[in-house]
């Protein structure tokens, strides 16, 4: 409907004043970003638990986190059907978004699982 597209276009203008041409559906973009965020958070928690059970310490655990996030990125790209630009603005959104927040969750659950399995 015309009104719907107009409202999303005005949202887009508000959020990014530089982009003049309204070529995106901002509502769906927000929804896609939320899906990415949920996936990354869940995968960093699961990765933290696995790193803790495996008994990783130090740099190995962070390398494991990078591996898990890379696999998750590939999975998300595959979920998008390898046509990233019909669902996202740029590649950074699917590859880098939620990386640091996920790292915090990862460290939390990594130490948690390590303590439970290996120390207590």
């Amino acid at each position: 409907m015309g009104g719907h597209n107009d409202s999303s276009a005005s949202e887009k203008k508000l959020s990014e004043a530089a982009n003049v041409v309204p070529t995106l559906n901002a509502e769906n973009l927000q929804s896609n970003m939320k899906v990415i965020y949920y996936s990354r958070t869940f995968m960093s928690i699961i990765g933290g638990v696995i790193a803790g059970i495996l008994g990783f310490t130090g740099l190995t655990g962070f390398i494991f986190y990078f591996l898990v996030m890379a696999v998750t990125s590939v999975g998300l790209i595959a979920k998008a059907g390898f046509t990233v630009h019909s669902y996202f603005d740029s590649w950074n959104q699917i590859i880098l978004d939620g990386f640091l927040g996920g790292l915090l969750s990862f460290v939390l659950f990594w130490t948690f699982a390590y303590d439970i399995v290996h120390i207590f």
Binding site: M1, L24, N25, I46, I50, G55, G75, L76, D89, H118
Partner: protein, 108 residues
């Protein structure tokens, strides 16, 4: 249905992971009895962890929902359904009993 199935798979993955954690705890207890050092988890625990990782990955990719196209003119974003209150739309009204005076207005 897809969401439900993914959710069940995620729960299964978490259960497998917790079982792997429990196995590792037992293995460490065994090592303590045998007075050996811990060098790494046993192979079945590693297999279990990989299985749990794959299941949880699948759940993480399916449960949060599907991607929606951001192109305004794509197939998914077109609205083809009619409004639900079609029965209440009235195209007849009183003005049709009045004579059309369009010609008079045009003459003056």
């Amino acid at each position: 249905m897809a969401l439900n199935l993914g959710f069940v798979v995620g729960i299964l993955g978490v259960v497998i992971l917790s079982h792997a954690a429990y196995s590792t705890v037992q293995y460490r207890g065994l090592l303590k009895i045998m007075e050996e050092e811990f060098s790494g988890p046993p192979l079945n625990v590693v297999v279990e962890l990989l299985l749990g990782l794959v299941l949880c990955m699948w759940a993480a990719l399916t449960v949060p929902g599907t991607f929606l196209s951001i192109h305004p003119h794509s197939e998914e974003n077109r609205i083809v359904s009619l409004p639900a209150n079609l029965d209440f739309m009235i195209f007849n009204h009183r003005a049709r009993v009045f004579p059309v005076e369009m010609d008079l207005n045009l003459k003056h």
